[in-house]
Symmetry: C2
Subunit: 354 residues, 2 copies
C-alpha cells in the first residue's frame, strides 16, 4: 500500500497532532495545556502555547465533543421568588435540555435571595469544583464580585445574565443596555401621549427599587428623553413597588386618585399584574398610555386588551440560549456566531407579538 500524499487542500486544517509535533511533545500534553488541566511544567506549557499560536490552531469542536466523556456542568444562579420573568428563564432552560445533551452539557438551577448579596455570594462560592460554568443573575455588590473573582480564579467560566456584575473575571455579559431601554420607553410614551391644548400632560413612573441597578438605569434613560425631547410632558415622582403586584396595585390606584388626568405610565420593573388591575378598576385602561417591560403572559394580555400600549422586552428565551452558547463556546473554545451574544431591546405592540 503506497502512502498517499494528501492533496493540498484550500484550507489545510491544523490539528492537535500538528501542534504536538511543532512543540516537540505528545498530543496528550498539548491537550493538557490547551485545556488547562494540571500537571504540566511551566516551560512545556509555554512551548505548547507558542506552537498553537504560531499555527493558529483551532480545536475541532466535533471531535472534542465526540471524545468527551463527562458532560459539561452549567449552573444557573437565579433569584428566588415568584417573578414571572425568572419563571420564563427557567422554563426556557428546561426546554433546552435535549439541545444541551446533544452538546454533552446539562444545566442546573440554584436559587438565591435576590436582596441578600451575602446569600448570593455564598451560593456562588459553593459552586467551585461543582460547575464548569456558572451563569449568574444577581445584584452587583462587592461581596458578589469577590465571589465571582474567586470562582473564576478557580477555573470556572462565569457569565452574567440580565444584570451585569462589573468585574473582568466574568467572561461575558448577556443582557440589554438598560439606559437605552429606558430611552426607548421615553420615546414611545412621549410620542403616544397626545399633547394637551394647554398645560402639560402628566406621566407616572413605577419601579421596583431605586437600588436595583437596571431599574435605576432605565429610569435615567426615560427621564433623559422626556426632559430633552418631550416638553409637553411632566413627570410625576417615581413610586417604588418592590416588583410585587400586591404593592403596585394600591400604589397605582392612589396615583390615579391624585392625578385623575394622568396621561401616561411607565412601569420599569415587575408587578405588572397589579398595575393592569389598577388601571382597569379605575377605567383608566386604554386612556392612560402605559408602557412596561418584559413580555410575560400578563403583559401580553394587557397589550391585547389595549391596557398596555407597548411592551419593551428582552427575550428570556434568547437570553438563556445566548448564555448557554457563550458558556459552552468559552469551555470548548468553539467559534461564536458574530453577534450570538447580543440581546436586542425588543418593542412589542399588539400587532407584532411573537
Amino acid at each position: 500500500m503506497p502512502t498517499a500524499t494528501r492533496p493540498a487542500a484550500p484550507f489545510e486544517p491544523v490539528r492537535l497532532e500538528d501542534v504536538a509535533r511543532e512543540a516537540g511533545v505528545s498530543t496528550a500534553t498539548v491537550d493538557r495545556v490547551l485545556n488547562g488541566r494540571a500537571g504540566v511544567r511551566e516551560r512545556t506549557a509555554q512551548k505548547v502555547h507558542a506552537a498553537a499560536q504560531r499555527l493558529a490552531y483551532r480545536p475541532d469542536p466535533a471531535a472534542a465533543r465526540l471524545a468527551r466523556a463527562r458532560p459539561w456542568r452549567l449552573v444557573f444562579v437565579l433569584p428566588e421568588g415568584s417573578n414571572s420573568f425568572v419563571a420564563l428563564l427557567r422554563a426556557e432552560l428546561e426546554a433546552l435540555a435535549p439541545w444541551l445533551a446533544e452538546r454533552r452539557a446539562r444545566a442546573q438551577v440554584v436559587l438565591a435571595d435576590e436582596f441578600s448579596p451575602m446569600a448570593a455570594a455564598q451560593a456562588i462560592g459553593a459552586l467551585a469544583g461543582e460547575a464548569d460554568a456558572v451563569v449568574l443573575m444577581c445584584q452587583d455588590h462587592p461581596l458578589v464580585r469577590h465571589a465571582v473573582e474567586a470562582l473564576a480564579a478557580a477555573g470556572t467560566t462565569v457569565v452574567t445574565l440580565v444584570s451585569d456584575v462589573a468585574t473582568p473575571a466574568r467572561a461575558h455579559f448577556v443582557g440589554i443596555d438598560n439606559v437605552a431601554a429606558g430611552r426607548t420607553a421615553g420615546t414611545l410614551v412621549g410620542r403616544f401621549v397626545v399633547p394637551p391644548r394647554r398645560g402639560k400632560a402628566r406621566v407616572g413612573i413605577v419601579l421596583g427599587s431605586r437600588w436595583l441597578r437596571d431599574h435605576a438605569e432605565r429610569l435615567f434613560g426615560f427621564q433623559q428623553v422626556i426632559a430633552a425631547e418631550h416638553p409637553h410632558i411632566e413627570l410625576v415622582d417615581p413610586l417604588e413597588g418592590r416588583d410585587r403586584s400586591e404593592l403596585t396595585e394600591p400604589l397605582v390606584r392612589g396615583l390615579l386618585e391624585r392625578e385623575p388626568e394622568l396621561a401616561g405610565l411607565y412601569s420599569i420593573g415587575a408587578g405588572n399584574r397589579g398595575i393592569a388591575a389598577a388601571l382597569k378598576a379605575t377605567q383608566a385602561a386604554g386612556r392612560v398610555v402605559w408602557v412596561c417591560h418584559e413580555l410575560t403572559a400578563h403583559a401580553r394580555l394587557a397589550l391585547l386588551e389595549g391596557t398596555a400600549a407597548a411592551v419593551i422586552n428582552q427575550s428570556a428565551a434568547r437570553e438563556v440560549r445566548a448564555a448557554c452558547r457563550m458558556a459552552l463556546a468559552q469551555l470548548t473554545r468553539e467559534r461564536l456566531l458574530p453577534d450570538d451574544g447580543r440581546i436586542r431591546i425588543e418593542v412589542f405592540l399588539k400587532d407584532n407579538l411573537p
Copy 2:
C-alpha cells in the same frame, strides 16, 4: 432473551450500531438507508427504518460531522440588483463562512432576476446535483414552484427566505409575517400622528409594486389598522416606486407638493434613500411621521437624524443564520433549538438601535 423491551433508561443513547443489530444488518447499511444513499434493497431499507423508529434513533451530530469528508454545499439564490437589503444578506453570509466551515459546510450565492420567474426557475433547475441544500429568495410563481418541487424530489433540501414559495416541497420558510408587519406600521403611524383639531390627518404610502406578495401583504395590514383604529387618519392613494430611489424621490416630492399638510408616510419597500432625500429637500423631515422597513445604513441614518420615526426590520443577519441552521439541521437531522427558525418583526426607534 430475544425481544428485548428496553426500559427507557435515563439517557441510554441509541447508536447506529444498535439500529444495525435491531435490524439485523451492518452499520454501513443503516448509514446508507438513513442518509438516502443508493444501492439498498427496498425490503432492507424498510427493516432499517422500522428499527430506527422503534429505537427512536437520533444520530450524534458530532460524530457525523467528524467522520464526514465532503462539505455540505449550500446555495443561496438571491435577486440581483443593487438592493441594500440583499447586500446585507450577502455580507452576512460571507461573515458566516468560518462558522459554516466548522460544520463542514460552505455557501455560495447565485443571482437571478427578481422580476423574471422564468429565469429564477432555470437557475433553480440547474442546481440539481450541485447543491445539498438551496435557500431561495424569489417571487412565488407557478414556474418557480414547479422548479422547487423538482429539486426537492431530486433530494435537495429547499428553504425559502423572506418571501415564501407556497409548496409543501420546501422544508422551511424563514421570514416574517408581512401582514403583521404592516399592522405594526399602522399602529405606529396611527399613534405618532397627532390628531388635528379638525378634519383628518393625511398619510401617504409608497410601495415597490402591488404585485410583490410581501408588499401587498404589508399594505393590507396597514390599511386594516388605520381604517379600524385610527379614524383621525385618511390614507392617500399608494404610489409605486419600483423599490428604486431614482423613482421614489420624485414620487415623494410630487406627493408633498400636492399634500403640503401631509402628516405621515409609510414606505413599504426599498428606495428609502430617495424618500429621505425628498423629505429633507422639502423641509418635511421630522414633521412628517415616516415609518419604513429594513434597517439599512440609510434607514439607520434617517432614524438618527429624526427623518424617520421608526423602522420595522427583519434582521438580515438572523435570517441568513436561521436559513443556514434550518438547512443544516435538515441535512444532518440535528436537533433545532425551539424557535431558531422564527424571525421577529423588530421595531427600531432612534433609541434602541443595535
